[in-house]
Structure formats: structure tokens, C-alpha cells
């Protein structure tokens, strides 16, 4: 009887894993098979034509690059400096705990809410309009918690011995943070930043009202221009236009490109983390 129970338990556990992996795997296969049909150099390098039924997605690729790099350019310095303050200077008081909980909660807020926030603050209040800038800032706010948490964890992982050695030489706190803690935490911070890029690249809702446009004939010439972006392009292809039989394959192709992009970004993060782990001997 005991053996039988163990057998049942084993089967249940194993089935769960298989089903889970199957879904993941089939997601990749479905997107890849459907998307591969339209994938070609032209698809990556051309502008859309004939009301989105022909041509490529070049401006959307460029737009996604601009938006996610802009987001990290904004969120990385702010997040890193904020995390340094929280971890090194703020102490362990109640206020700090509340702030930290707030940051963690922020990462659970639905992304469309960030979109509305961006519309209210960056588009309207600051008057940046629907633009690369507004979209980058909105995505930046979205990934801020990711970067703060990654930085805090990286800083926490720096062995106490390094700090002590620095203090024992007469270093001040800031000298210690700058000279020892940050360099040692750098791989972790970079990993966080890159994961942030991947997150920002894939989000639709935050750019819906703040940056994205269905179609432009030009690449953005300034930060105040609207821009096309991969996730929004998929959304637009599936919900607008009149020729779904031509648009759906392009949507799958776009999804495949986006998927590959995000996977590539995550892969880079994994490589950095792996190399940093191997190089350090503490």
C-alpha cells in the first residue's frame, strides 16, 4: 500500500512537470511555426506597406529598442542610487521597511495602470505628449522595482569582509561603497538592468497611451515623436485593419521576433551572471 501511494505521488508530480513544460514548449513551437513563414531579411529591415498587409516591421524593432533602452537609461541610475541609499544609509527603521514593501508592491501593479499613470503624468502633466520620451519614462517606472531589488540583492551579497577591510584602512562609508561594494555588486546590478530591458521590451499596456502608434512613415526624429513598437504592433494588427488573413501572419512574425529578442536579452543576463559566479571566489 505504501509503495502504491508513493507510486501515485510520483506520477502526479511527474505529470505536473510534463504538462507545464509541454505548455511552454508548445508556446514556442506555435509562435515559431506560424511566425517563421513570414520571417525574412526584408521582414526585419522594411517598413510596413499596403496598410499593414505587406512589408516588414523595421520601425517597430527600432521603436522597441529605443523604448527599452530609454527605460533602462532612466531607471538604472535612479534605481541603483535609490538601492544604495536604502541598503547602506537608510538603516532599518519602520519607514524604510514601508518603502521597501511599497517598492515590492509596485512590481505587482498591473502594467495598464502604469500606462494610465504615464498618460496622466508624462504625456499630460509634463506635456511630453505621446512620445518615445513618455513611453520610456513610463516603462522606466515599471522596471524601477526590478532594478532596485536586483541592486539591493547584489549589494547584500557583497561579503562583510570586503567592507571591513576597507574600513580598517580608514575608508569612509562612501569610499567603501564606491571602491569596494559597487564594483563587487556590478554583475548583479547589470543582470538586473538587462532583465529590465527584456521586461520593458515586452510590455504593451504601458506604451499604449504614452508612446505607441499603429503606423509611422518615419523613424522617430526626436524623443518627442511617436513610435512603433513590437508588442503594440501585434496588438494593433490583431485588432485594427480590415484584412486579417494578411495581418495575422505578420502578427505571428512580429511575435516571433519579439520572443527571440527577449530570449536573447535574457540569455545575455544569464551569461553575465554565470561568468561573474565563476570568476568570483568568495
Amino acid at each position: 500500500m505504501r509503495r502504491f501511494k508513493q507510486f501515485v505521488g510520483f506520477v502526479v508530480l511527474k505529470t505536473s512537470v510534463v504538462v507545464g513544460v509541454l505548455f511552454l514548449f508548445s508556446l514556442i513551437v506555435v509562435i515559431a511555426l506560424n511566425g517563421a513563414r513570414v520571417l525574412s531579411p526584408g521582414f526585419l529591415l522594411e517598413f510596413p506597406r499596403e496598410g499593414m498587409t505587406e512589408g516588414g516591421i523595421f520601425p517597430a524593432i527600432v521603436g522597441t529598442f529605443l523604448l527599452s533602452l530609454g527605460a533602462v537609461g532612466f531607471a538604472l541610475p535612479l534605481g541603483v542610487l535609490g538601492a544604495i541609499y536604502l541598503r547602506e544609509y537608510a538603516g532599518g527603521g519602520r519607514l524604510v521597511r514601508i518603502i521597501r514593501t511599497g517598492i515590492n508592491t509596485l512590481s505587482g501593479v498591473p502594467s495598464v495602470v502604469f500606462g494610465l499613470f504615464g498618460l496622466a503624468v508624462f504625456v499630460k502633466l509634463f506635456g511630453f505628449g505621446v512620445s518615445v520620451l513618455s513611453g520610456s519614462l513610463t516603462l522606466g517606472v515599471l522596471i524601477l522595482p526590478v532594478i532596485i531589488r536586483a541592486t539591493e540583492e547584489a549589494i547584500e551579497g557583497v561579503p562583510r569582509e570586503f567592507r571591513e577591510a576597507s574600513y580598517a584602512l580608514g575608508a569612509t562609508k562612501w569610499q567603501t561603497v564606491k571602491g569596494v561594494v559597487l564594483p563587487a555588486a556590478l554583475p548583479g546590478i547589470l543582470t538586473g538592468a538587462i532583465l529590465g530591458v527584456g521586461r520593458a521590451a515586452g510590455e504593451t499596456a504601458p506604451i499604449l497611451f504614452t508612446a505607441a502608434t499603429f503606423y509611422t512613415r518615419h523613424l522617430p526624429g526626436s524623443p518627442f515623436d511617436e513610435v512603433m513598437a513590437l508588442p503594440y504592433h501585434i496588438y494593433a494588427l490583431m485588432t485594427e485593419g480590415t484584412e486579417p488573413e494578411h495581418q495575422v501572419p505578420i502578427a505571428y512574425g512580429t511575435a516571433l521576433v519579439l520572443l527571440l529578442l527577449v530570449l536573447a536579452v535574457n540569455f545575455i543576463a544569464i551569461v553575465i551572471r554565470y561568468r561573474a559566479r565563476r570568476a568570483r571566489k568568495w
Binding site: 569582509e161 571591513e164 577591510a165 574600513y167 580598517a168 584602512l169 580608514g170 575608508a171 571602491g179 564594483p183
Partner: protein, 252 residues
Amino acid sequence: MVREKIVVKDLNLWFGENHVLKGINISIPEKAVTAVMGPSGCGKSSFLRCLNRMNDLIDTARVTGKVLIDGRNIYDDAVDVSLLRRRVGMVFQRPNPFPKSVFDNVAYGLRIHGVRNKGELRERVEEALKDANLWDEVKDRLFGSALELSGGQQQRLCIARALAVRPEIILLDEPASALDPISTAKLEELIEKLKEDYTIVIVTHNIQQAARISDYAAFLMLGELIEFGRTQEIFTAPKDKRTESYLTGRFG
């Protein structure tokens, strides 16, 4: 008569409610090796950390009493802790070089204290490495990672790092506890040499090591200083029964 470099008066240390050091009085002579011995948890490392105010880093630490270095109380409000630690170098139990190059490790303290000139940096780094008996082993790999060195080399690098800022006192917190016998022998040889120029305080729970390298020895137990004197006297004719029991290995 030897000159007293460090004079400790009625030193008490608490971590929260925990009374770690109880009324320590001791005078540590200049340019000699003073060993602080005692069973685990007797407060010997905490005592050492009082001498360069490393205990300041622990929020719950509280100190009363005085530690006079060259007659000046280092716990005075006017004392610049950064300058104090520059004068009182420290080497830790486990070698803790920074994950930087050999050169940058030794240059770290110099840069912190404002040495920017490249030529001067190079000279001082070389000097410190030579003083730490490490130069010949690392001169061809100054810009390789310090973490590639052996444990013993790393510990001598940490000594070089401390020497580079030209301290007057060097505190060693069980510096050989993570080293093999050969590395330990090299380290002890180095300490022997360094005492000509520096006042050295070494914490150890290796009794033989204390006997080999120290000129003076202190015995601590449960936060109290039981006995202090010339090493030879402590080892041959301890005045306190507890010291004798410890040295003969009855506990520890």
C-alpha cells in the same frame, strides 16, 4: 624600560546587554609583538577591534573607558576615525583581498588617503609588497587578480595592503587560522621582521604560536584580563591558576 604605545584603561564593551569586555587594563609596549590568547568567545577579537574602533560598525556596541595611543584617547569625540585606522592597521582571520588586482589591492588605502601620483603609487606599492615578503612572488603578476593567489600569499597581501598606508600599529586577528603550516611559518617569519618597525598585537588561540612569536602575552577569559606579562614569564611561571590550566591544555 620599554615605551608604552597603547594604554588601555578600564575598558568595557557591551554588545546590547552582553557584557563582552570587563574592565580591561593593559599597556602594550612599542615595537614588540603582544599576543592576546584565550578560549573561544573570551572577547579577544572584540578587544582587538576596540583598538581601531572597528566595533563602531556594530550598532549595538557600547564602549566605556579609555584607549590611549601615544597618550591620546582614541574614543575622544574629536578623533578622526579614518585617520585613526590609518595609524592602526588590521589584518583579519580569513584573508580578504578585494576582488581586484594585486596592485589595486595594495594601492587601495593609498588612493583613499589621496595619493594620486602614479609614480608614487608604484613606489609605495612595491615598498609595501617587499615589506610583506611578497614582492618576489607577485612582481610578474601585479595586474592579475588577487584572488588567484594562494591563501598564504593572500594573507601577506592583506598585510602589504595594511602596510602601504604606513601605520604605526598592526592588529592581527588570528591571521594564520586559515593557513597551512608552511604559509603559517612564512607569516610568522614576517611578523618577526615587522616588529622592528611596528607595534604588533596578535590575537591567537594557538598557544604554541603565541609562545614562538610574541614578546608579551595577555590571557583573556570570559571578558576579563586574567594575566599579562612577558611571554617567557607567562609560559614558564604563570601567576594565575587559570592561565596555567589554559596553557597546559586543560581547556580551550
